[in-house]
């Protein structure tokens, strides 16, 4: 069981969370071209090692988190809220 240290709720089982996806994608603006959107939606790296990914604390505080996790060992290096304002709150409370 992966244990994820939610910045708001504390360390919880991964079963409380829902996996989101690649956290490094920069989604293009809504008026961008089909090509730009295709790049953003369909092309994914298959990373062996640490990758940035999003998790949703769906059975908790509902926060979307940016998690740096190893796809080999499940080791988690860092966790922070996706939302920059919430990131600041977490930083200030450290």
């Amino acid at each position: 069981m992966i244990r994820i240290n939610c910045p708001y709720c504390g360390e919880r089982d991964h079963s409380e969370f829902t996996y989101g996806g690649d956290a490094t994608i920069k989604y293009p603006s809504l008026d961008s071209s089909e090509k730009e959107w295709t790049e953003a939606i369909f092309f994914r790296k298959n990373i062996k090692g640490f990758q940035l990914e999003t998790w949703h604390h769906s059975n908790g505080c509902r926060m979307w988190l940016e998690v740096e996790r190893s796809t080999v060992t499940h080791e988690i290096k860092s966790i922070k809220p996706c939302h920059p304002d919430l990131q600041k709150v977490v930083e200030n409370n450290k």
Binding site: D13, T18, Y27, W37, A40, C82
Partner: protein, 985 residues
């Protein structure tokens, strides 16, 4: 074998006799006995029949590695097959029986397999797939289909009860600083050290008593040890197996709560499935003694050496009279001493020549000798021995028991669960644990330590390691080196039999012989993973706890390699079998998944509703009157709605409150249709797309004020839409000032639909003037009060195509609302209608739901393309125009009539052209109903090119699953009131 109970030995309670039955005969045991020790005390030697050859099998061990004494416990619905007699505690009235035998294990007709065994060598089963050569080579086999059933019946173990499990099981959770697995000398010392340093410690022991291997010693008090542990505040969990290690120091435990008790008084759960979240794991899981492969090494009476010591000192059972011990290491001599003290006649064959052994007792040690062949079938008559230098029969010893020790394998299983490969230790001829970065420390003989003092020291070192890694201390520590015997072990895995067709067992459980390993090698299955699958070496209950290393060594020998070069298979959880019942815990029957009911659930049932599951929700399906069937009922309900008025519980729809200064901008981005200019007091139907341009969900959003919207979603997609909105706001559009809150549970909703719905509502609200057509037009929204000053929200929206309203009220007032609406609906001869009638009404109108919006359908496919804004960009706006989604020939929404109006059809029917009824056709019917309005069956679905392409062409509906076929007419999906006059009335 002649085994018997001794008077002066053991830790059993001689004052308490326990009666049990074995194969329907009554026997007595003592309190503290295991089933195996009680059987041995009664001199029962044959307790099972082997997997393939049906050879008589006895008790090989005294623990979890047992692969011979697998028995069935209990009867009827409590029949539990493949239980290890060695770990089953005896209780009063226990019923046990042998398995895989007919009529019984002592006389088994299947024993013929032993004589035709060469047909059942490794790979036999796979070869039968190939067909009978040469007739069926490569063609697959027909005969296999015939024989497969017989093979399955003849091979195997016990059979499970086919009745529902009457026992209950629990899931439980706990947290601790350190969990220690195993209560042997190392585990106990680790637990004490950690607890004295103020850590919160759980100690887990699979046995009923703490002590580990010390239970096999004559001088050991389990009670004193337990008291010491508990006085330090350590949570000691006995009868609990740590069956698996998982990420982040999570340990899975199985606690056997009542498996040792008579069933009748049982009010406790049978087993508890624990999930422990620890900060550090210390594993002192011990080591398992290996046997030696030689001819007939499975005759009842063969046992590991340490097991015999365990039976002697724990249960007071002497397992043989004339005992030969065959070994290649020093660990057996203490046992040899004690057995001869107990007046057994002991001979030790030691494969080594150059060794020094000090003994107090007189027993013969024959250095340089190995076991060669056992004579006997159901019991041992004698043992042929050979010199270890030159393998051939040298001498015969009359005996009734042969004890084997081919060395010890540290139980590295739990560490292996974490993907840590063990490393081969040449000096001790065993795999020992490798280092890991995770917070797991291996101690005691599970890291290859054979001395008790070393084990105790390793426990202290392990606890110190834990303290250091947790950042509590920075103390130096060291682990003793693996080993601890005076004379080095000399590898001995197999003694080759000279004659052909030997039965030299490597893995008892699945009857894997040394010849099978050689056959696998000849046929090219040389990697350990292939070897395992081809021969089934290391499979089933015991997972190769005794035999794996022997199999590896044989393969290494054949390949001229060392064991570490051949590798080892990865152990995976569970360490010992975990019943499915324990995995499911209380999540069975009605608790299998959560049940969601609307606040007017009871009200609906009281008013005659038959319920149906929609996702997790219970929703009214139909409200039959007297003897009405489902179709009678829904047709009546739908007819009444079109004629007068109907009331329907729509609470299960998802409801989301969207608030904030940027709420309008937000909705404008997520919906494909324009929301920027929606006025306060108006609702709008909207379709959301996914990033890739496919429809995600549809629903309405009501503008309650400048900055507040009330959004509804479909029942099924409620959670998905909520998570999606949160994702967008938290990850993509973080500058938008919007907050979304799920209010699905807070509001109860009812649809009031039909020409008389306005009249009904007029009677229900405090201020009827608000409900007039002028004040409350189509898609209008008002916040007002139901009679009794109950605040509510009403929107004039219609799913049925009639003049209709949706009324929402705080959930607490749901029954009040339903009473009020229903009282007034009855005045107009209205009805309550359920999901089936709702479906009929919406199909008549061509309104789509989840059956249509299945994740493949675009907004154009659903015929809603015109709603999408061309003036703005929104989620999916670029992608919905991409290549294939723009094809003229896409399957688009249409209505279907049967050509012969008396005909019926089903959802799932494949639509084909008349001359080409094949494959996936050119479309599909997704929803059907009898249309009360039109008087015949209608459907909606999709067909390539849409209604214009097939307007006057007869298509065919193929329904091969239900053996149906009918001619179809393609029509517009808007089959009733296409201009919407009724809605605007």
């Amino acid at each position: 074998m002649t085994s018997k109970r001794l008077n002066n030995y053991g830790k059993i309670n001689r004052d308490k006799t326990i009666s049990f039955t074995w194969d329907n005969k009554k026997y007595n045991g003592l309190e503290g006995d295991s089933l195996a020790s009680a059987l041995l005390a009664n001199n029962i030697g044959v307790v099972g029949r082997s997997f393939k050859y049906h050879r008589p099998r006895g008790i090989f061990s005294s623990g979890v590695e047992e692969s011979g004494a697998l028995v069935t416990i209990g009867s009827k619905d409590r029949r539990d097959p493949n239980v290890r007699a060695t770990t089953q505690e005896l209780y009063d009235g226990l019923k046990a029986s042998g398995q895989n035998a007919f009529p019984n294990v002592n006389f088994d007709l299947g024993g013929i397999n032993n004589y035709i065994g060469r047909f059942f060598a490794a790979g036999f089963y796979y070869k039968t797939f190939m067909g009978i050569p040469p007739f069926e080579w490569g063609k697959g086999t027909s005969i296999w289909m015939l024989f497969e059933k017989l093979i399955r019946k003849a091979a195997g173990m016990g059979s499970a009860s086919r009745l529902p499990d009457p026992d209950s099981y629990e899931h439980a959770h706990d947290f601790c600083d350190v969990i220690v697995v195993g209560s042997g000398p190392s585990g106990v010392s680790a637990a004490i050290e950690a607890a004295e340093k103020k850590l919160d410690v759980i100690l887990v022991e699979q046995d009923s008593l703490v002590g580990g291997d010390q239970l096999s010693e004559s001088e050991f008090s389990t009670t004193n040890t337990l008291n010491q542990l508990q006085s330090l505040g350590i949570k000691v969990m006995t009868r609990t197996t740590a069956f698996g290690l998982y990420d982040n120091c999570v340990v899975g435990l199985l606690e056997r709560v009542t498996d040792h008790l008579s069933i009748s008084k049982n009010i406790l759960p049978r087993q508890r499935f624990w999930t422990i979240r620890a900060k550090h794991i210390i594993v002192g899981s011990g080591a398992l003694e290996r046997h030696i492969a030689f001819n007939n090494n499975d005759i009842p009476g063969v046992m590991t050496v340490n097991a015999s010591k365990h039976y002697l000192n724990r249960y007071g059972v002497l397992t043989g009279k004339d005992i030969v011990i065959a070994t290649n290491n020093d660990s057996v001599y203490e046992t040899a001493e004690q057995l001869s003290e107990a007046e057994a006649n002991v001979t030790v064959l030691d494969s080594r020549t150059d060794i020094e052994i000090e003994t107090k007792n007189k027993f013969e040690i024959r250095k340089g000798f190995v076991p060669y062949n056992i004579n006997g079938t159901k019991k041992i008559n004698s043992l042929d021995i050979s010199k270890s230098e030159n393998i051939k029969k040298f001498d015969t010893i009359n005996c009734d028991q042969v004890l084997l020790s081919g060395g010890w394998s540290p139980a590295v299983h739990l560490l292996s669960h974490r993907g840590v490969k063990p490393k081969w230790n040449h000096e001790n001829a065993c795999f020992i644990p490798n280092d890991t970065k995770e917070n797991i420390t291996m101690i005691g003989s599970s890291r290859g330590l054979w001395n008790k003092d070393d084990c105790v020291a390793s426990g202290v070192a392990g606890a110190t390691d834990a303290l250091n890694r947790l950042g509590i201390s920075k103390t130096n520590y060291f682990f003793p080196k693996p080993g601890g015997w005076k004379n080095p072990i000399k590898p001995l895995y197999e003694v080759k039999y000279k004659k052909s067709r030997s039965k030299s067992f490597v893995d008892y459980q699945h009857d894997v012989t040394a010849d099978d390993v050689r056959l696998a090698h000849r046929e090219g299955f040389i990697s350990v993973e292939h070897l395992k699958r081809y021969t089934t070496l290391g499979m089933a209950n015991d997972q190769g706890k005794m035999g794996n290393i022997i199999g590896l060594s044989l393969m290494a020998d054949l390949l001229n390699k060392e064991i570490p070069e051949v590798g080892t298979t990865v152990f995976r959880p569970p360490y010992t079998p975990v019943p499915v019942g324990a995995l499911s815990g209380r999540n069975v029957g009605k608790h299998f998944r959560p049940l969601r009911v609307t606040p007017m659930h009871q009200w609906n049932i009281d008013h005659g509703a038959k319920m149906i599951e929609v996702g997790l929700y219970q929703r009214p399906w139909y409200y039959p009157k007297k003897n009405e069937t489902l179709s009678d009922s829904y047709i009546r309900e739908a007819t009444v709605v079109r004629k007068t008025v109907g009331i329907c519980d729509v609470t299960s729809l998802g409801k989301i409150s969207v608030q904030g200064p940027d709420a309008t901008e937000f909705l404008n981005r997520i919906y494909s249709n324009a929301f920027a200019k929606l006025q306060v007091g108006k609702a709008r139907y909207g379709v959301m797309l996914r990033d890739d341009g496919i429809v995600m969900d549809d629903g309405t959003s009501w503008r309650l004020s400048e900055n507040e919207y009330f959004m509804t979603t479909s029942t099924a997609a409620a959670a998905k839409v909520m998570a999606w909105l949160e994702e967008l706001l938290q990850t993509r559009w973080t500058n938008l000032k919007v907050n979304v809150t799920s209010v699905s549970e807070q509001w109860a909703g009812a649809a009031v639909a039909g020409p008389k719905s306005r009249e009904v509502l007029n009677n229900c609200v405090e201020d009827p003037s608000l409900i007039t057509n002028e004040n409350f037009p189509f898609m209008g929204v008002i916040s007002t009060f139901l009679k009794g000053k109950i605040p509510c929200r009403i929107a004039r929206i219609s799913f049925s195509g009639e003049l209709a309203f949706e009324v929402y009220i705080k959930s607490d007032f749901a029954n009040t609302m339903m009473d009020l609406l229903w009282d007034n609906a009855q005045i107009y001869d209205g009805c309550l209608y359920g999901l089936e009638a709702l479906g009929a009404l919406r199909v008549e109108k061509g309104h789509v739901t989840g059956a249509e919006l299945d994740g493949r359908v675009t907004i154009d496919d659903a015929g809603l393309g015109k709603m999408a804004s061309i003036k703005k960009s929104y989620i999916g706006s670029a992608m919905r125009r991409r290549g294939v989604l723009n094809s003229e020939n896409r399957e688009t929404l249409v209505g279907f009539f049967p050509m012969d109006l008396k005909e019926t059809f089903n959802a799932g029917t494949i639509v084909c052209e008349k001359n080409n009824i094949s494959g996936q056709g050119i479309g599909r019917i997704t929803s059907v109903t009898h249309s009360p309005e039109l008087g015949h069956w209608i459907g909606i679905g999709f067909v390539e090119g849409g209604v214009n392409k097939w307007k006057d062409i007869t298509l065919v509906g193929a329904d091969p699953v239900r053996n149906k076929q009918m001619n179809l007419k393609v029509v517009s999906p808007h089959m009733v009131d296409p201009t919407g006059e009724r809605m605007y009335a």
